[in-house]
Amino acid sequence: MNAEIRPIRTPAEQGLSGELKNLPSSGGARIVALREAAAKAFNDNGLPHRRVEEWKYTDLRTLMREALPVSSPAQSAQVEAHARLLIDTGARRLVIANGAVVPELSDLADLESGLTIQPLATALAAGGDLIARLGTLEPGRYDAALALNTALAADGVAISVAPGAVIERPIHVAHVFSGKAAASFARNLVVLGAGASLTYAESFEGPEGVAYQVNSATEFVVADEASLDLVRVQEEGANALHLSTLLFEVGKAVKLNAFTFTSGAAVTRTSLYARLNGADSAVSFNGAILLKDRQHADSTLFVDHQTTGCESRELFKHVLDDSSRGVFQGKIVVRQPAQKTDGRMMSRALLLGDDAEMDNKPELEIFADDVACGHGATCGAIDDDLLFYLRARGIPLKEAQSLLVQAFVGEAIETVANDELRDALVERAEAWLKARA
């Protein structure tokens, strides 16, 4: 139940502790101290297991069997061959392979005015105002994935948009893994000045049949009246372990819209922490998760309303085939000063496979009285009446299912504002359904 003596450390924990003996040294005293503190936190607490409430359904002690050595740089030809997600969207593309920026594949020319993009390694070496923001967002509790990322990530991208700058062209950061099984760590920082506007896309992909590990963390600092659209696509290889952490600090009257599409990796955990610090912001966090075989994906959200008048919306759709397992844990916290909060969270799951499993845990924690908060969660099979309707019109079973699934996830994908990115996502969902049929 609790107060138990920590059992013997797993091989993965021992391996990770070994990796943590050689921390990157870039970035000055503050960053080095952050890395050391994170390494110490990991050595003290280890990997989470099912007794740790936030990881109840994703027992990393069991799921992460071994620790892999930190990956070495990839060959850019291989990377180019692998990177295929979101390529036709017209976005400015930056490529991160095995946790390091590949300059020859990254488009850093003709940056719009007000936009700064630097590889994190370069920014760390140079120091400066932007780096002063790195590591300032905290989940407020120990998170093993984030601790490992903080300790071991040495590269990624650092982006800042000057106050008032409106960047029309989306930025796409393509995370690619290639080569032999290893662990890659990337850390990104996105800072939007007051009134700035940006569309930011992240994609994750890698080879089939290689049991690699990806640990990515991105911090978003969104100042007053700024607007951020975030689109994420995760299609890692079928044997990969993928851990992502997203941290948001939201100022006042911000518009934030984040969407995650997940269909890859054997084990996925996406943790999202959003702190709503300013009044009257509107945020939405949505997702579509399509799983098959024995895939496991966990989306855990923590939305912290600290001040008045904010609106938060969450819509997550799971489609679970075969014996896959979907996990949704969403927590909306409304602090005492956060009066007039309007929060709505919805998680819906469609179980296609007889052995599929869905675990929902939508939580509300409310300390302010003048609020309107709610959550809903449903799970079940496709409605027989709907299938019958389509089949009565001569549509074969699989096709009828596909149509209904498409409509089901479509509702979540609809929330993406950018047309090209939305079309690309619809296309990814269709590809998944086609592979199924």
């Binding site: 107060a3 929902n360 845990k361 939508p362 409310i366 009285d369 959550h375 969660a377 799970c379 099979a381």
Partner: protein
């Protein structure tokens, strides 16, 4: 609506002191020595004249309890409970067992009269004739022992066994032995294990095959002594095709120190049987500063063992400083049904962490959860529930609705549902909302001349109506009054 009118009048008539059951009856009592060790367990067992197997059962529980840590996962915060400072057995002193109601200490009878529980069958009948309601058989538990059970003969005619569990151990050992601990195992959790070791009394009900219990059964629990813990154990068995409705009520005197109440309730419904279990819990909640009050750590679980069986829990939780209570249903039989209707009201500094578990194991099982939480003052009110479908629970259905209402800006309302589905044909729906009483509703009521407190009571009554309707009539009226009393002082 006369009931609403009554609520409004009730609100008006209340003084500053909200808890009207806070009196203490001065009765000589016999206690076990303070503290808990194997000798205490033996003492209780000997007092009850229990057979050897039950003593062993208790001792086994006690040994296991010593190795268990106290659970900390609930959203409640309380000082450590001094388990060795409590009395685990207290019984009102009286000569040999009472043969009839007339031999019971008049002080105890007076206590129950004050509480509005008629123990004398004659009085009960008189009262009932005038209102035209149905009869209710009562088992009254005073501290650690049952003092009176009414209507025994009439129930016996129908074959229904309704008696204190200590008596049942002697008279129906085969039933007790078969079912005791079969729903809530000895090692289930910290508080259930403690209860297994030191339980003193409680009710035992057995409804034979095909019998519809002729009247509602009821137990009234009263903690009277200082520094005592109450550990009652209730066991209800509904044999094939039977039906029973069971009510439970509780009160305690007002004291500055906290008192512990750790009960276990086990329900077993065999094929086609139905058990309806209603609770109005009004233990002393402590004063407005959070001093005193009952720590209520209760394990309640029903096992729908047979096909087409049904268990329904209805609870109105208004009392206790700490409530930690999750009446659950194990839906084992095919087509079995579980229901949970709850109103949990917290005011002052009360902390409530309550909810249910619906565990779907059989095919075509269904469950329904309606939970209404109302938080006022500086209280915290948490709904914590689990709905799960096992791999073989084909076509399991669940509908959950939990709404929370916040009154005042110092309280908290939390919802922590766990929804786990391992079967594709299972259909689970869950919805939860949290809001305050809308300004529009209040304005509407006040325009029609109601003062803010009356208006609030009216709206709250509407908010909890779904659950109140599930209560037996006599209880519904009491519960409605209780709701308005609990919210007294929360507006303005």
């Amino acid at each position: 609506m006369p009931a609403v009118q009554e609520t409004v009048e009730q609100v008006r008539s209340i003084d500053v002191d909200q808890y009207k059951y806070g009196f203490f009856t001065d009765i000589e009592s016999e206690k076990a020595p303070k503290g808990l060790d194997e000798d205490t367990v033996r003492f209780i067992s000997a007092k009850k004249g229990e057979p050897e197997w039950l003593l062993e059962w208790r001792l086994d529980a006690f040994r296991r309890w010593q190795t268990m840590p106290e659970p900390k996962w609930a959203r409640v915060d309380y000082p450590p409970i001094p388990y060795q400072e409590l009395y685990y057995y207290a019984a009102p002193k009286q000569k040999a067992g009472p043969k009839s109601i007339d031999e019971i200490d008049p002080e105890i009878l007076a206590t129950y009269e004050k509480l509005g529980i008629p123990l004398r069958e004659r009085d009960a009948l008189l009262g009932i004739e005038s209102t035209g309601g149905s009869k209710v058989a009562v088992d009254a538990v005073f501290d650690s022992v049952s003092v009176a059970t009414t209507f025994k003969e009439e129930l016996a005619k129908a074959g229904v066994i309704f008696m204190p569990i200590s008596e049942a151990v002697r008279e129906h050992p085969e039933l007790v032995k078969k079912y005791l601990g079969s729903v809530v195992p000895v090692t289930d959790n910290f508080f259930a294990t403690l209860n297994s070791a030191v339980f003193s009394d409680g009710s035992f009900v057995y409804i034979p095959k095909g019998v519809r219990c002729p009247m509602e059964l009821s137990t009234y629990f009263r903690i009277n002594e200082r520094n005592t813990g109450q550990f009652e154990r209730t066991l209800i068995i509904a044999d094939e095709g039977s039906y029973v409705s069971y009510l439970e009520g509780c009160t305690a005197p007002m004291r500055d120190e906290n008192q512990l109440h750790a009960a276990v309730v086990e329900l077993v419904a065999l094929a086609d049987a139905e058990i309806k279990y209603s609770t109005v819990q009004n233990w002393y909640p402590g004063d407005s500063e959070g001093k005193g009050g009952i720590f209520n750590f209760v394990t309640k679980r029903g096992d729908c063992r047979g096909d087409r069986s049904k268990i329904s829990w209805t609870q109105v939780e208004t009392g206790s400083a700490i409530t930690w209570k999750y009446p659950s249903c194990i839906l084992r039989g095919d087509e079995s049904q579980g229901e949970f209707y709850s109103i949990a009201i917290s005011n002052g500094r009360q902390q409530v962490d309550s909810g249910t578990k619906m565990i779907h194991l059989g095919k075509n099982t269904s469950s329904r959860i309606i939970s209404k939480g109302i938080a006022a003052g500086r209280s915290d009110n948490t709904y914590r529930g689990l709905v799960s479908a096992h791999r073989k629970a084909t076509n399991a259905r669940n509908f959950t609705n939990c709404d929370s209402l916040l009154i005042g800006d110092q309280c908290g309302a939390h919802t922590v549902p766990y929804i786990e589905s391992k079967n594709a044909s299972a259909h689970f729906e869950h919805e939860a909302t949290t809001s305050k009483i809308s300004e529009d509703q209040l304005f509407y009521c006040r325009q029609r001349g109601l003062d803010p407190e009356e208006a609030t009571a009216l709206i709250v009554n509407g908010f909890v109506k779904d659950v109140l309707q599930q209560l037996p009539m006599e209880f519904a009226v009491e519960a409605q009054k209780l709701i308005s009393v609990s919210l007294e002082g929360s507006v303005g």
